[in-house]
Protein backbone atom coordinates (compact mmCIF):
# COMPACT_ATOMS: atom_id res chain seq x y z
CA UNK A 1 0.00 0.00 0.00
CA UNK A 2 2.72 2.38 1.08
CA UNK A 3 4.88 1.47 -1.91
CA UNK A 4 1.96 1.91 -4.15
CA UNK A 5 1.44 5.47 -2.96
CA UNK A 6 5.10 6.38 -3.56
CA UNK A 7 4.87 4.93 -7.02
CA UNK A 8 1.86 7.12 -7.76
CA UNK A 9 3.58 10.20 -6.31
CA UNK A 10 6.68 9.68 -8.42
CA UNK A 11 4.52 9.24 -11.51
CA UNK A 12 2.85 12.54 -10.69
CA UNK A 13 6.26 14.19 -10.22
CA UNK A 14 7.44 12.94 -13.59
CA UNK A 15 4.26 14.25 -15.17
CA UNK A 16 4.77 17.69 -13.56
CA UNK A 17 8.40 17.91 -14.65
CA UNK A 18 7.60 17.04 -18.23
CA UNK A 19 4.83 19.64 -18.17
CA UNK A 20 7.22 22.34 -16.99
CA UNK A 21 9.62 21.66 -19.85
CA UNK A 22 8.27 23.13 -23.08
CA UNK A 23 7.97 20.64 -25.90
CA UNK A 24 8.69 23.16 -28.59
CA UNK A 25 12.35 24.26 -29.02
CA UNK A 26 11.42 27.88 -29.80
CA UNK A 27 9.26 27.91 -26.68
CA UNK A 28 12.26 26.73 -24.65
CA UNK A 29 14.36 29.55 -26.17
CA UNK A 30 11.67 32.05 -25.23
CA UNK A 31 11.56 30.81 -21.63
CA UNK A 32 15.36 30.97 -21.39
CA UNK A 33 15.44 34.50 -22.74
CA UNK A 34 12.66 35.54 -20.35
CA UNK A 35 14.45 33.94 -17.38
CA UNK A 36 17.72 35.71 -18.29
CA UNK A 37 15.88 39.02 -18.28
CA UNK A 38 14.27 38.20 -14.93
CA UNK A 39 17.73 37.45 -13.52
CA UNK A 40 18.59 41.13 -13.89
CA UNK A 41 18.07 42.36 -10.31
CA UNK A 42 16.49 45.67 -11.35
CA UNK A 43 14.43 44.50 -14.32
CA UNK A 44 11.09 45.17 -12.61
CA UNK A 45 12.10 48.73 -11.73
CA UNK A 46 13.99 49.66 -14.87
CA UNK A 47 12.03 47.91 -17.64
CA UNK A 48 8.60 47.08 -16.20
CA UNK A 49 6.65 47.76 -19.42
CA UNK A 50 9.06 45.78 -21.58
CA UNK A 51 9.25 42.74 -19.29
CA UNK A 52 5.44 42.70 -18.89
CA UNK A 53 5.05 42.67 -22.66
CA UNK A 54 7.49 39.77 -22.83
CA UNK A 55 5.48 37.98 -20.15
CA UNK A 56 2.23 38.49 -22.12
CA UNK A 57 3.80 37.11 -25.30
CA UNK A 58 5.24 34.15 -23.42
CA UNK A 59 1.83 33.37 -21.92
CA UNK A 60 0.31 33.54 -25.38
CA UNK A 61 2.99 31.20 -26.70
CA UNK A 62 2.39 28.76 -23.83
CA UNK A 63 -1.37 28.99 -24.31
CA UNK A 64 -1.06 28.33 -28.04
CA UNK A 65 1.18 25.36 -27.31
CA UNK A 66 -1.23 24.01 -24.67
CA UNK A 67 -4.17 24.45 -27.06
CA UNK A 68 -2.34 22.33 -29.58
CA UNK A 69 -1.88 25.13 -32.11
CA UNK A 70 0.39 24.60 -35.10
CA UNK A 71 4.16 24.74 -34.52
CA UNK A 72 4.19 27.76 -36.78
CA UNK A 73 1.84 29.69 -34.48
CA UNK A 74 3.69 28.68 -31.31
CA UNK A 75 7.01 29.57 -32.95
CA UNK A 76 5.75 33.03 -33.86
CA UNK A 77 4.62 33.91 -30.33
CA UNK A 78 7.71 32.26 -28.85
CA UNK A 79 10.01 34.25 -31.15
CA UNK A 80 8.31 37.52 -30.29
CA UNK A 81 8.47 36.65 -26.57
CA UNK A 82 12.19 35.80 -26.83
CA UNK A 83 13.05 39.06 -28.60
CA UNK A 84 10.83 41.13 -26.31
CA UNK A 85 12.59 39.64 -23.25
CA UNK A 86 15.93 40.59 -24.82
CA UNK A 87 14.60 44.13 -25.37
CA UNK A 88 13.59 44.28 -21.71
CA UNK A 89 17.04 43.15 -20.55
CA UNK A 90 18.83 45.61 -22.82
CA UNK A 91 16.52 48.40 -21.67
CA UNK A 92 17.45 47.63 -18.06
CA UNK A 93 21.14 47.76 -18.99
CA UNK A 94 20.59 51.08 -20.75
CA UNK A 95 18.88 52.54 -17.69
CA UNK A 96 21.68 51.28 -15.46
CA UNK A 97 24.24 52.99 -17.70
CA UNK A 98 22.18 56.19 -17.57
CA UNK A 99 22.27 56.09 -13.78
CA UNK A 100 26.03 55.52 -13.93
CA UNK A 101 26.39 58.60 -16.13
CA UNK A 102 24.40 60.72 -13.71
CA UNK A 103 26.53 59.43 -10.85
CA UNK A 104 29.79 60.00 -12.75
CA UNK A 105 28.73 63.55 -13.65
CA UNK A 106 28.04 64.35 -10.01
CA UNK A 107 31.36 62.74 -9.09
CA UNK A 108 33.11 64.80 -11.75
CA UNK A 109 31.82 68.04 -10.23
CA UNK A 110 32.86 66.84 -6.80
CA UNK A 111 36.38 65.98 -7.99
CA UNK A 112 36.69 69.33 -9.81
CA UNK A 113 35.74 71.03 -6.59
CA UNK A 114 38.39 69.10 -4.68
CA UNK A 115 40.91 69.89 -7.40
CA UNK A 116 40.19 73.60 -7.20
CA UNK A 117 40.41 73.74 -3.44
CA UNK A 118 43.60 71.68 -3.62
CA UNK A 119 45.10 74.21 -6.01
CA UNK A 120 44.11 77.02 -3.68
CA UNK A 121 45.64 75.11 -0.76
CA UNK A 122 48.89 74.60 -2.64
CA UNK A 123 49.04 78.26 -3.68
CA UNK A 124 48.42 79.33 -0.11
CA UNK A 125 51.16 77.03 1.18
CA UNK A 126 53.63 78.40 -1.34
CA UNK A 127 52.76 81.95 -0.37
CA UNK A 128 53.17 81.06 3.29
CA UNK A 129 56.71 79.88 2.56
CA UNK A 130 57.39 83.35 1.17
CA UNK A 131 56.26 84.87 4.46
CA UNK A 132 53.48 86.68 2.66
CA UNK A 133 51.41 88.87 4.97
CA UNK A 134 47.82 89.85 4.51
CA UNK A 135 47.43 93.61 4.13
CA UNK A 136 44.63 95.93 3.03
CA UNK A 137 46.11 95.89 -0.45
CA UNK A 138 46.36 92.10 -0.63
CA UNK A 139 49.20 89.70 0.12
CA UNK A 140 52.55 91.37 0.64
CA UNK A 141 56.06 89.92 0.64
CA UNK A 142 58.80 92.03 2.19
CA UNK A 143 62.42 91.59 1.08
CA UNK A 144 65.15 93.26 3.18
CA UNK A 145 67.85 95.11 1.24
CA UNK A 146 71.53 95.99 1.71
CA UNK A 147 72.68 99.65 1.54
CA UNK A 148 72.99 99.49 -2.21
CA UNK A 149 70.33 98.17 -4.57
CA UNK A 150 71.63 94.60 -4.29
CA UNK A 151 69.26 92.01 -2.96
CA UNK A 152 70.45 89.82 -0.13
CA UNK A 153 70.91 86.14 -0.97
CA UNK A 154 67.96 85.14 1.22
CA UNK A 155 65.85 87.66 -0.65
CA UNK A 156 67.01 86.21 -3.98
CA UNK A 157 65.84 82.78 -2.92
CA UNK A 158 62.47 84.28 -2.09
CA UNK A 159 62.33 85.96 -5.49
CA UNK A 160 62.97 82.54 -7.09
CA UNK A 161 60.10 81.04 -5.13
CA UNK A 162 57.88 83.95 -6.10
CA UNK A 163 58.83 83.45 -9.77
CA UNK A 164 57.87 79.77 -9.48
CA UNK A 165 54.56 80.77 -8.00
CA UNK A 166 53.87 83.38 -10.71
CA UNK A 167 54.82 80.96 -13.46
CA UNK A 168 52.44 78.40 -12.03
CA UNK A 169 49.55 80.83 -11.54
CA UNK A 170 49.46 83.19 -14.50
CA UNK A 171 46.35 84.95 -13.23
CA UNK A 172 48.38 86.88 -10.64
CA UNK A 173 50.41 90.06 -11.27
CA UNK A 174 52.74 91.86 -8.87
CA UNK A 175 53.62 95.40 -7.91
CA UNK A 176 57.27 95.69 -6.81
CA UNK A 177 57.87 98.70 -4.60
CA UNK A 178 61.29 99.88 -3.38
CA UNK A 179 61.82 101.82 -0.14
CA UNK A 180 64.83 103.46 1.59
CA UNK A 181 65.68 104.91 4.98
CA UNK A 182 65.78 108.67 5.34
CA UNK A 183 69.59 109.06 5.23
CA UNK A 184 70.75 111.19 2.32
CA UNK A 185 69.31 113.22 -0.47
CA UNK A 186 65.65 112.55 -1.35
CA UNK A 187 66.15 112.33 -5.10
CA UNK A 188 69.07 109.93 -4.63
CA UNK A 189 66.88 107.86 -2.29
CA UNK A 190 64.14 107.80 -4.90
CA UNK A 191 66.64 106.53 -7.44
CA UNK A 192 67.94 103.88 -5.03
CA UNK A 193 64.39 102.72 -4.26
CA UNK A 194 63.61 102.50 -7.97
CA UNK A 195 66.77 100.50 -8.57
CA UNK A 196 65.80 98.14 -5.75
CA UNK A 197 62.47 97.42 -7.42
CA UNK A 198 64.15 97.02 -10.83
CA UNK A 199 66.55 94.48 -9.36
CA UNK A 200 63.61 92.35 -8.24
CA UNK A 201 61.86 92.90 -11.56
CA UNK A 202 64.95 91.72 -13.48
CA UNK A 203 65.31 88.66 -11.23
CA UNK A 204 61.66 87.72 -11.90
CA UNK A 205 62.03 88.25 -15.66
CA UNK A 206 65.19 86.12 -15.61
CA UNK A 207 63.06 83.34 -14.13
CA UNK A 208 60.57 83.59 -16.95
CA UNK A 209 57.87 85.87 -15.53
CA UNK A 210 56.38 88.11 -18.24
CA UNK A 211 57.50 91.75 -17.89
CA UNK A 212 53.93 92.97 -18.39
CA UNK A 213 52.97 91.28 -15.12
CA UNK A 214 55.45 93.26 -13.03
CA UNK A 215 54.84 96.91 -12.15
CA UNK A 216 57.60 98.83 -10.31
CA UNK A 217 57.63 101.88 -8.05
CA UNK A 218 60.33 103.72 -6.11
CA UNK A 219 58.95 105.42 -3.00
CA UNK A 220 62.27 106.60 -1.45
CA UNK A 221 61.74 107.15 2.30
CA UNK A 222 58.09 108.21 2.00
CA UNK A 223 56.61 105.15 3.71
CA UNK A 224 58.79 104.01 6.61
CA UNK A 225 57.70 100.93 8.54
CA UNK A 226 59.92 101.76 11.51
CA UNK A 227 61.59 104.78 13.11
CA UNK A 228 64.64 106.12 11.25
CA UNK A 229 66.32 107.10 14.53
CA UNK A 230 67.88 103.68 15.16
CA UNK A 231 70.08 101.37 13.07
CA UNK A 232 67.51 98.58 13.36
CA UNK A 233 64.68 100.89 12.30
CA UNK A 234 66.62 102.15 9.29
CA UNK A 235 67.49 98.58 8.36
CA UNK A 236 63.77 97.65 8.37
CA UNK A 237 62.96 100.63 6.18
CA UNK A 238 65.46 99.57 3.49
CA UNK A 239 63.26 97.05 1.76
CA UNK A 240 61.36 95.96 -1.30
CA UNK A 241 57.65 95.21 -0.87
CA UNK A 242 55.96 92.97 -3.37
CA UNK A 243 52.17 93.22 -3.55
CA UNK A 244 50.33 90.33 -5.09
CA UNK A 245 47.30 91.14 -7.23
CA UNK A 246 43.92 89.46 -6.83
CA UNK A 247 43.06 86.57 -9.14
CA UNK A 248 42.12 88.98 -11.91
CA UNK A 249 45.40 90.87 -11.89
CA UNK A 250 44.01 93.89 -9.99
CA UNK A 251 46.42 95.58 -7.60
CA UNK A 252 45.28 98.24 -5.17
CA UNK A 253 47.58 101.25 -5.54
CA UNK A 254 49.47 102.47 -2.49
CA UNK A 255 46.82 104.46 -0.62
CA UNK A 256 49.14 107.38 0.15
CA UNK A 257 51.12 107.40 -3.09
CA UNK A 258 50.60 110.42 -5.34
CA UNK A 259 50.83 108.50 -8.56
Amino acid sequence: MQNHRYFLLSLLAIALVSCATPKNASLADAHNSYNSALAHPEIMNLAATEINQANDLLNQADAASDAGASDDTVDQFAYLAKQQAAIALETARQKTAEAEIAYAAAKYNQIRHVEQSTETDIAEQQLKQLNARKTDRGLMITLPCAYNAQLQSGSLRNVDKLADFLNQYPQYDVSVEGHTDNIGNHSVNREVSERRSYAVRMALIDKGVGSDRIRTHGYADEFPVAGNDTTTGRQLNRRVEIILSDENGNIFPHPKAGT
Binding site: D72, T73, L80, I87
Partner: protein, 119 residues
Protein backbone atom coordinates in the same frame (compact mmCIF):
# COMPACT_ATOMS: atom_id res chain seq x y z
CA UNK B 1 -18.54 42.22 -26.93
CA UNK B 2 -17.28 43.28 -30.37
CA UNK B 3 -13.81 43.24 -28.95
CA UNK B 4 -13.89 39.67 -27.76
CA UNK B 5 -15.34 38.55 -31.09
CA UNK B 6 -12.55 40.21 -33.08
CA UNK B 7 -9.95 38.76 -30.72
CA UNK B 8 -11.40 35.31 -31.21
CA UNK B 9 -11.28 35.90 -34.93
CA UNK B 10 -7.60 36.81 -34.76
CA UNK B 11 -6.81 33.76 -32.68
CA UNK B 12 -8.77 31.63 -35.11
CA UNK B 13 -6.79 33.05 -38.00
CA UNK B 14 -3.58 32.33 -36.15
CA UNK B 15 -4.48 28.80 -35.30
CA UNK B 16 -6.17 27.69 -38.50
CA UNK B 17 -3.96 29.72 -40.81
CA UNK B 18 -7.00 30.84 -42.79
CA UNK B 19 -5.95 32.13 -46.21
CA UNK B 20 -8.51 34.90 -46.30
CA UNK B 21 -6.65 37.40 -44.06
CA UNK B 22 -6.05 40.79 -45.70
CA UNK B 23 -2.64 41.84 -47.05
CA UNK B 24 -0.63 43.32 -44.09
CA UNK B 25 0.45 46.38 -46.07
CA UNK B 26 0.59 48.72 -43.09
CA UNK B 27 2.43 46.17 -41.01
CA UNK B 28 5.04 45.80 -43.77
CA UNK B 29 5.48 49.58 -44.05
CA UNK B 30 5.83 49.97 -40.27
CA UNK B 31 8.45 47.22 -40.10
CA UNK B 32 10.40 48.79 -42.96
CA UNK B 33 10.43 52.12 -41.11
CA UNK B 34 11.60 50.38 -37.95
CA UNK B 35 14.35 48.60 -39.88
CA UNK B 36 15.65 51.82 -41.48
CA UNK B 37 15.52 53.56 -38.13
CA UNK B 38 17.53 50.77 -36.50
CA UNK B 39 20.14 50.90 -39.27
CA UNK B 40 20.42 54.70 -38.84
CA UNK B 41 20.64 54.66 -35.05
CA UNK B 42 23.77 52.56 -34.66
CA UNK B 43 22.29 49.12 -35.34
CA UNK B 44 24.87 48.51 -38.07
CA UNK B 45 27.71 49.15 -35.63
CA UNK B 46 26.35 47.78 -32.36
CA UNK B 47 23.78 45.11 -33.31
CA UNK B 48 24.72 43.71 -36.74
CA UNK B 49 23.26 40.25 -35.99
CA UNK B 50 19.87 41.58 -34.94
CA UNK B 51 19.81 43.97 -37.89
CA UNK B 52 20.63 41.13 -40.28
CA UNK B 53 17.89 39.03 -38.75
CA UNK B 54 15.45 41.93 -39.23
CA UNK B 55 16.52 42.26 -42.88
CA UNK B 56 16.04 38.56 -43.53
CA UNK B 57 12.58 38.64 -41.97
CA UNK B 58 11.76 41.74 -44.01
CA UNK B 59 12.81 40.03 -47.24
CA UNK B 60 10.79 36.96 -46.29
CA UNK B 61 7.76 39.17 -45.60
CA UNK B 62 8.08 40.87 -48.98
CA UNK B 63 8.46 37.56 -50.75
CA UNK B 64 5.38 36.26 -48.93
CA UNK B 65 3.47 39.35 -50.12
CA UNK B 66 4.42 38.46 -53.70
CA UNK B 67 3.33 34.88 -53.06
CA UNK B 68 0.11 36.25 -51.54
CA UNK B 69 0.84 34.21 -48.40
CA UNK B 70 -0.44 37.02 -46.18
CA UNK B 71 -0.31 35.05 -42.97
CA UNK B 72 3.41 34.48 -43.40
CA UNK B 73 3.89 38.06 -44.59
CA UNK B 74 2.22 39.27 -41.40
CA UNK B 75 4.33 36.98 -39.20
CA UNK B 76 7.61 37.89 -40.89
CA UNK B 77 6.80 41.61 -40.76
CA UNK B 78 6.22 41.26 -37.01
CA UNK B 79 9.54 39.47 -36.61
CA UNK B 80 11.32 42.16 -38.63
CA UNK B 81 9.77 44.87 -36.45
CA UNK B 82 10.75 43.26 -33.14
CA UNK B 83 14.27 42.43 -34.42
CA UNK B 84 14.69 46.05 -35.50
CA UNK B 85 13.41 47.22 -32.13
CA UNK B 86 15.91 44.95 -30.36
CA UNK B 87 18.74 46.26 -32.60
CA UNK B 88 17.89 49.87 -31.70
CA UNK B 89 17.69 49.02 -28.01
CA UNK B 90 21.05 47.26 -28.08
CA UNK B 91 22.66 50.14 -29.98
CA UNK B 92 21.27 52.75 -27.60
CA UNK B 93 22.33 50.71 -24.59
CA UNK B 94 25.84 50.16 -25.99
CA UNK B 95 26.27 53.87 -26.68
CA UNK B 96 25.10 54.80 -23.20
CA UNK B 97 27.39 52.23 -21.62
CA UNK B 98 30.29 53.54 -23.69
CA UNK B 99 29.59 57.09 -22.51
CA UNK B 100 29.40 55.90 -18.89
CA UNK B 101 32.79 54.13 -19.19
CA UNK B 102 34.30 57.27 -20.77
CA UNK B 103 33.06 59.48 -17.94
CA UNK B 104 34.35 57.03 -15.35
CA UNK B 105 37.77 57.08 -17.04
CA UNK B 106 37.82 60.88 -17.05
CA UNK B 107 37.04 60.90 -13.34
CA UNK B 108 39.77 58.38 -12.65
CA UNK B 109 42.35 60.42 -14.58
CA UNK B 110 41.28 63.58 -12.79
CA UNK B 111 41.55 61.92 -9.39
CA UNK B 112 45.02 60.59 -10.24
CA UNK B 113 46.13 64.03 -11.39
CA UNK B 114 45.04 65.55 -8.09
CA UNK B 115 46.89 62.83 -6.18
CA UNK B 116 50.06 63.69 -8.11
CA UNK B 117 49.69 67.39 -7.33
CA UNK B 118 49.15 66.80 -3.64
CA UNK B 119 52.22 64.58 -3.33
Amino acid sequence: MMHSISLTAVVAVLITGCASIPAPTEQIAASKTALNYAADKGGREFAPLQLESAREAMNAAEQAMIDKDYRRAWQMAERARIDAHLAVTIARSAKTQKAARKLQEINLDLAREIDRKVQ
